[in-house]
């Protein structure tokens, strides 16, 4: 785990920083919407903050991971060959990394500001501060020995993060989510609408919760529960195609992937537990 912990610490720090950064844009947007008398309330605020964390966060996670990988490598070299080091150095590297990444995002992408919260000085400062904490978080992760559970937890959290998008769509914008799955919601009968929303929402919320609980408890049963549901979806997808004559639907590939990830996590936990 000595070497492996570094890349997973970078990934974890990037995800942690995404969690700090995305609310800056969300909250600045909500403040503006309130200022023009839009009916912003707790539910709509939660919708904006969570959707931003998931949808905007995916792209930022990739950008921040690259930025942190470079910045923390440089910081590591500086720490090795100089008297500087420790949490201050990595925190500074994190702040610089986010600052440079946000400048490059503007200069390389049409010279427009894609992050709403980065259009104002206070927003820019808050982004740098988020990077600072990201660097600090990285330092805390690498400053101690880590076991395999560190990797399990990161992969489990990232898996849950991916599922969060589907959960949010079904909870907050079910009609759009239904359209994504090929349903013309308003054309369905009342009972069919109810069944669709009820079953699909519980499907995604359940698998999301199983994986989150699996991350917290490290009990493989929770990961297997999630895996079984997605494998089941893939199997019955194929049965629908070949036994019941529905249209071919390649989504079973995605279902197999979503079933395999938690299954591997569960199997790893069992294998490691036996090894111990």
């Amino acid at each position: 785990m000595k070497i492996v912990k570094y890349p997973f610490a970078v990934l974890s720090a990037a995800l942690f920083t995404v969690m700090l950064v995305t609310p800056i844009s969300s909250i600045s947007n909500l403040i503006w919407l309130s200022s023009v008398d839009m009916p912003v309330n707790i539910i709509s605020s939660l919708e904006v903050i969570l959707f931003d964390f998931q949808r905007m966060g995916i792209a930022l996670f990739a950008v921040f991971t690259i930025g942190f990988a470079i910045a923390f490598s440089v910081a590591g070299l500086v720490a090795k060959f100089s008297n500087f080091g420790g949490k201050g150095l990595y925190s500074l590297a994190g702040a610089v990394s986010i600052g440079v990444a946000l400048i490059l995002m503007v200069e390389l992408l049409f010279q427009t500001e894609l992050l709403g919260g980065n259009r104002f000085l206070i927003g820019k400062i808050l982004h740098w501060v988020a990077g600072f904490f990201g660097g600090y978080f990285f330092y805390t992760l690498i400053s101690k020995d880590r076991t395999y559970t560190f990797v399990i937890r990161f992969v489990g959290i990232f898996y849950s993060y991916i599922l969060l998008g589907l959960v949010l769509s079904w909870v907050f914008t079910p009609v759009i989510a239904a359209a994504d799955f090929g349903f013309v919601f308003l054309d369905l009968s009342d009972n069919a609408q109810n069944a669709l929303l009820r079953d699909f929402t519980s499907f995604f919320v359940a698998t999301f919760l199983f994986s989150v609980i699996g991350v917290i408890t490290l009990n493989p049963s929770w990961f297997f529960s999630s895996g079984i549901i997605y494998y089941g979806a893939a199997i019955f997808n194929l049965i629908a195609i070949y036994a019941h004559g529905t249209n071919y639907n390649q989504i079973y590939i995605g279902e197999i992937i979503l079933g395999t990830i938690p299954t591997i996590l569960g199997l790893t936990l069992i294998y490691k537990h036996k090894s111990i």
Partner: protein, 360 residues
């Protein structure tokens, strides 16, 4: 996310219900953006880098017009729209919209009038400078149309980084502007007596408007690019707020929520919205009969969907059909000649002018 990507691949197919015959008139145009017919065989067209040219359809010769305004050609900015004065045959007047640097070295939208005489612009005059300065020359709008009363309408886009300003009347971001042909302000403009409001504003709450037409009955329609989703066609009425960015059916390119709201009292709903986006680039209302299937339809060219949409509004519903998708081109502009023949401009460097052969 993976599920949604897989599904989007399955459901985003684009079906064209009718195929047409085409004739490529000219090729290798340099970011051609707009065109207008001087007569059945002569087209005046712009190229974004700052070229104004005349194309003779009989011999396909192209003549450069000189003494055109200096433009700021960058990103989406440059020489944009050209239209003729309703009395062009007698006064030779044309109107050009373009982006240029203002006195503070910021890019903004301009509208100039000039007389086209012997392949040269004369008596050039800036008749409008948008109070919409921006660092990057994007989301300018820049379409022009004449109203029935002889006043000019101009789209002024939200400038991307300045989207919130579309909701305030003290600037020209995200507004439709109405002025007289000499640049003066019509006395019946809706906000002319409102303290703090710019008197040129006709409607507000718009994003990046590209189509702007006035039908023979005098109705004004515009369409605008949404961000990711939420492209709209709107029926424009004076003083109304069209909602951007407080209400929208799209999300930001970053994936962020722009607004969780799609409607609010006091903000207009679009006649239709496209989600996912098609990137509408131009629009005509076809009132001729050379293509009987198009008569009294809106024809909207699109960049992302690489087709044109025939749109009909009937009994509060919209009916659409995809056209010209077999060209597989990003379509920038559409015009009907005085006789009703449809021509298309394709987008970008190396663009083409394509004639759609009449079906009648």
């Amino acid at each position: 996310m993976s599920l949604r990507i897989f599904l989007s691949l399955i459901f985003l197919s684009n079906i064209s219900y009718a195929s047409y015959k085409y004739e490529t008139i000219v090729e290798d145009l340099d970011d051609a953006w707009s065109m207008v017919f001087i007569d059945e065989n002569t087209i005046l067209f712009t190229e974004l880098p700052g070229n104004l040219k005349i194309l003779n359809l009989l011999d396909k010769s192209i003549t450069n017009i000189v003494n055109i305004p200096s433009v700021h050609y960058a990103s989406q900015g440059g020489l944009s729209e050209v239209i003729l004065d309703p009395d062009f045959q007698s006064n030779n007047k044309i109107y050009l919209s373009y982006s240029a640097k203002n006195k503070n070295n910021k890019s903004t939208l301009y509208l100039s009038s000039a007389e086209l005489r012997n392949d040269r612009l004369e008596n050039r005059k800036v008749i409008f400078e948008a109070i919409a300065p921006r660092r990057t020359s994007v989301h300018l709008g820049a379409k022009i149309a004449f109203m029935k009363d002889g006043t000019l309408l101009l789209n002024s886009g939200d400038g991307f980084d300045h989207r919130e300003k579309a909701q305030y009347l003290d600037n020209h971001f995200g507004k439709i502007i109405r002025i007289n042909t000499d640049g003066s302000i019509p006395a019946d403009n809706p906000f002319i007596n409102l303290m703090g409001a710019l008197p040129e504003i006709y409607s507000y709450g718009h994003r990046n408007m590209q189509g702007l037409i006035v039908t023979s009955s005098g109705d004004i329609y515009e369409h605008e690019h949404g961000p990711k989703g939420g492209d709209e066609i709107n029926l424009i009425k004076p003083s109304l707020n069209y909602g951007w960015p407080a209400i929208t059916y799209g999300i930001d390119y970053s994936g962020a929520v722009i607004s969780p709201f799609t409607e609010k009292e006091g903000m207009e709903q679009p006649l239709l919205h496209w989600t996912p986006s098609i990137a509408p680039s131009d629009m005509i209302y076809y009132e001729n009969d050379l293509y009987p299937e198009f008569t009294n339809s809106f024809l909207v060219t699109a960049l992302v969907s690489k087709d044109a949409k025939k749109v009909i509004f009937k009994n509060g519903k919209d009916y659409q059909e995809s056209l010209f998708s077999d060209l597989n081109q990003r379509l920038r502009n559409i015009e009907a000649s005085p006789a009703g023949v449809i021509y298309l401009l394709t987008d970008g460097p190396g663009g083409k002018l394509i004639k759609v052969l009449p079906t009648k």
